[in-house]
Amino acid sequence: MYVERKQLVAPGEILAEGKYVSGENTHREDEKIFSSRVGVVEVEGDRLGVVPVKGCYVPHVDDVVVGRIVDIGMSGWTVNIDAPYPALLPASETPLLGHRPSRQRVDISGMFEVGDLVVSKVLAFDRTRDPLLTAKGPGLGKVTAGRIIKVSSTKIPRLIGSKGSMISLIKKETDAHIMVGQNGTVLVSGKSPESENAAIQAIRMIEREAHTRGLTDRIQAMLRTKVKGEGVES
């Protein structure tokens, strides 16, 4: 192995040679494993991967995403989920209409309109077809309030944290409600503009510093000063 954990690498840099396994964002040629993107090396046993610093969102089944309705069709809606592919939300995958027998024709135009924001889950996606979404389920459906923050989807894992530790920290310190879409769209609604701004600042800081260590402590320190500070001023 030619690199160490957490080392920053560029595309084409050699990571290892020999009996290693090529993981995420790496590729293999002959006996060598190379990085495919700019990112940070992660090692799990003999499996080497790269956590990219930037990249587009690629849907995975069961991802919860926040998307924007861009078109209404005969049987459903086209949703922009900031992926390279348009997503389809069929009418049968919405709470109200999903209970009807499929033969019955229903006017779906009133449910979601173009420009609406919808939280949905990825039902299906593969290389040959566009992602299929569902809005049936707890927490899914139209979004009516909150501030929209767009973050690179590669930073979402760090924003959530291991077992949700980072996002819970932000929610606790700011008392804001935060909905994180795997596709990089985050919705923040706080009881006050200060609480919202504090949460947004934390999100931006994580986006910038995701590849560094000690981030959780710094976020906690920043939020405590900011929230306390605001409280004192008001």
Partner: protein, 256 residues
């Protein structure tokens, strides 16, 4: 505006060129990534007086749909020069030269992009020459490579490019505009240094087989040097942030 230009000695008695460089010397290169806000990836390169901007949008939905390929992304490339980029104003409409360069530049980067990752999409690459002074296609390829990496597009490796020419009978590295106009040959080369493969090579002028050998070797060596700078620039932004915050952390820990 024209003030009469007299033909100048391309190489003086000390073996130095008009701009003071030796025959095997590269012009100073400055590279920067992430210079644009809207593009998914971007880079700016200054090489001598060349000022070139490269930007990437994608992978994104193919428009029109019929150009999409089922198993991989379509790479589209547009090389374009600003009207004020050359000594005489150039019409903004794409010339035949710009169309040819758009093609060879795309073909120089195709082998580097792991396009199988994103079937049925397009990756759009735009190169804008803001000021041109010889060797702009090579500087454009170097910048385009950075823009693709900056956008997070998976790549086999980066592509670096440079041109070697012949002036006053001598093989010389990285000709600028005047040298190119009065010179006897121009050989632009692009390689993917990680596997030492050539992705672009063109030549116009006259070179003997020996001159070609010398020129080609010089180009390949120089591309490797440029490649080192590319890797450093891509990592620099993140390394600076890392240093900045981790240092602060360590200092604060010590103070406690």
């Amino acid at each position: 505006m024209k003030v009469e230009e007299k033909p100048v000695e391309l190489i003086d008695q000390n073996g130095l060129r008009i701009d003071g460089r030796r025959l095997d010397e590269l012009r100073p290169i400055k590279m920067e990534v992430g210079v644009l806000d809207k593009a998914n990836g971007s880079a700016c390169i200054e090489q001598g007086k060349n000022k070139i901007l490269a930007a990437v949008y994608g992978p994104r939905e193919a428009h029109p749909k019929h150009i999409a390929l089922p198993h991989r992304a379509v790479l589209r490339c547009r090389y374009h020069m600003a009207p004020f980029s050359t000594s005489e104003r150039k019409s903004p409409a794409p010339s035949r030269r710009e169309q040819e360069l758009s093609k060879v530049i795309r073909e120089s980067l195709e082998p580097a992009v792991l396009s199988e990752y994103y079937p049925r999409t397009t990756i759009d690459l735009f190169i804008e020459v803001l000021q041109s002074d010889g060797g702009s296609r090579c500087a454009g390829i170097t910048a385009a490579s950075l823009a693709l990496a900056d956008a997070g597009i998976p790549m086999r490796g980066l592509v670096a490019a440079c041109a070697v020419g012949k002036i006053a009978g001598r093989v010389a590295l990285d000709l600028f505009d005047t040298e190119d106009k009065q010179g006897e040959a121009d050989l632009p080369v692009a390689i993917m240094p990680r596997s030492n493969v050539v992705t672009l090579i063109q030549m116009d002028g006259i070179l003997t087989p020996e001159e070609f050998q010398t020129a080609f070797d010089m180009a390949v060596r120089t591309c490797h040097t440029i490649h080192e700078q590319q890797k450093a620039v891509l990592k620099q932004r993140y390394l600076s942030i890392k240093e900045e915050v981790e240092e602060k952390n360590d200092v604060e820990k010590k103070e406690k």
